[in-house]
Symmetry: C2
Subunit: 376 residues, 2 copies
């Protein structure tokens, strides 16, 4: 073989290897999508790369990401399996080179018409993992007016293989996380339902917490920890007797003291879970107060984990604005005034600020507002 | 560059790429360990490969897998960070070539002395992911009495990088799964504790189910589904009132009817969890009977999902052998006779057989047996 050819092949394989490491260094699908599209152009020297994902339920392909200004238009396009070049590749599960799309009757011209982009040539490979179709990748317009070659095709198929594995791992990881969170939520809701007057509390507190997280700019991991904490914040109520939990009237002093044990019970339940030790302390500090007069530990200010400080505000707002058998919920604006009044006393002022900003942006939808939406 | 050299380099990179795909095609650490060790010898043409994992708590390295007859001896060896060539590499986080170990004072000769293996040369690289030490890999004895070269070292470092990423993904996945299962278990135990007389039931039923799974030769996924089902099988008791759940006496007919709703309640709670739909039907069929006279649906024979048939046997055995405030638990052998008697009527005979085999192998440790172990 010629030296020059070997050098090029070696370069390409080195490139493939570095892309593989890159794609596998994350279990976040959106990251893998982005890096895949970026890599396509480099690997086979094309103008543009695109990734179409397979929607199993609808048996269709859709563009997950389309870079550039026409992205929004492209994103809406859906192809039936068998439709267009991408659809044909998905159907036959065989790669295709089409070096002059105008001459190919399979070419789906709508994307070009709508976006103003001019497609000349396409190299397209299916993404398959253990016989399961995940999508297709396309390299569009070989640069320097050249044609896509069979070597390009071989390389592109190796790349498709790499993408498929990275995507499948990310999917498995995210599916597991979703199942974990949904199971926790289902169990938390079931605990909540023992008290027929608190329906929807866990869901609303979780939503409010995530709205605050958005305002505070928390990262993905922090958001996930907060979400799980919010889901589980009242789980300790498993340990409270029916007689107290379901009392359709205000609790007496002794009952209040018993009820106050729920964060401690929650902590006892979940502290055995090895990898939750970081978050449980926060989760079950949601009844601490900023001035140190809360429970169970009487922590003060920043001693209270941020997770606890966030849940405290959301929990109280929902308690104030929700109806109880013995009283109607407060109006949202009255409740907001209460939060402001107790900022620095009961609540972290920064968290109250973030909550109010989220409220003003319409991200906080209280129980009564939800009911109004239902009525209309 | 020389043609021959380029060809070899290309071959090696192709090999690396295919190994990368192989390692990333599983999220199972034991698979990755095995494939890593196998690949080491091929990649740098060595006699033997070994993998040492980092034990963070003890700040030591240990051989995870050692192939061959001396494996068991090697497995027990632990190296302090800094000790031996592997320990030095872990400490400095830099790869090392030692082409004549006898001349290197760092060489840790105990492994050779104990195993009878003769180490001549070592190529060793650290496994690092985002600044975190995961372990080291070693290629031992370059074949054909050659020396390990700098090209070997470069290639080995690329390989170490690949292994690190694959291992880290597998670790993350398994950590998440562990957290999910432990959280479910903690919540299931908390539900169980509402009834002070059923302590340890969930744990024992889960253990019994896994013992049966072993007898039946279920695969990893089936075992995991069964484990989660066993953990959650009584979760519907969240919806049963204290008055019934805690009654320290046999239930009357009306109470029994209410109690019988727990599988249906469990199903209602968990059916919203998208990816659990496959298992919940099994989980909450553990009160169906083989002859069709059970509840909630009155399913018969193989209509009852296997998960339900397995839990049924384990659940009943534990109920029979556990103490209640109003009666002492049955002797294990009496309970086994009961299972045999109702095989084909209440229980799937094949599952009863598997249970008895597990019992005979000492894998089923009933509540009273546990208490005896405690006493002694």
């Amino acid at each position: 073989m010629e030296n020059n050819f070997l050098l090029k092949e070696l370069e390409k394989h080195k490139k493939l290897l570095s892309v593989t490491l890159l794609l596998n260094s994350s279990l976040e699908p959106s990251y893998i999508y982005k890096k895949t599209i970026e890599a396509i152009t480099e690997i086979v020297n094309a103008e543009v790369g695109s990734l179409l994902l397979y929607d199993e339920e609808k048996d269709e392909l859709y563009f997950h990401v389309a870079l550039g200004e026409k992205g929004e238009i492209i994103k809406k396009i859906r192809l039936k399996i068998g439709e267009g070049i991408a659809g044909s590749v998905a159907k036959t599960r065989k790669s295709l080179i089409v070096n002059d799309v105008k001459k190919d009757p399979r070419f789906f011209s709508k994307a070009d018409e709508q976006s103003g982009f001019v497609t000349k040539s396409i190299l397209c490979s299916p993404l398959i993992y253990r016989d399961k179709l995940l999508g297709v990748i396309q390299a569009i317009n070989k640069k320097d007016d050249e044609n896509f070659s069979n070597e390009d095709l071989n390389l592109f198929e190796s790349f498709a293989n790499i993408v498929s594995i990275a995507l499948e791992n990310a999917k498995l990881y995210n599916k597991l996380k979703e199942t974990f969170f949904q199971t926790s939520f289902a169990l938390a809701e079931a605990v909540e339902k023992r008290d027929p007057y608190t329906g929807g509390h866990v869901r609303r507190v979780t939503e409010y917490c995530l709205a605050i997280a958005e305002e505070l700019g928390l990262n993905k991991e922090e958001k996930e920890n907060l979400e799980l904490s919010a889901i589980l914040h009242d789980i300790g109520k498993i340990g409270i007797d029916d007689a107290i939990l379901r009392k359709p009237a205000p609790l007496n002093e002794e009952e209040i003291e018993t009820m106050k044990k729920h964060p401690q019970i929650g902590l006892e339940i979940l502290k055995k879970v090895k990898h939750l030790s970081e978050i449980v302390v926060g989760t079950f500090s949601h009844h601490e107060k900023y001035d140190g007069t809360g429970y169970p530990l009487g922590l003060k200010g920043d001693e209270i984990p941020i997770i606890g400080r966030i849940i405290a505000v959301c929990d109280t707002f929902d308690a104030m604005t929700s109806n109880r058998p013995y009283r109607k919920g407060l109006d949202d604006n009255v409740a907001i005034e209460e939060l402001k009044k107790y900022a620095g006393i009961q609540f972290d002022p920064l968290i109250v600020d973030a909550f109010i900003k989220a409220f003003q942006r319409g991200k906080i939808i209280s129980q009564s507002k939800r009911e109004k939406i239902y009525e209309n």
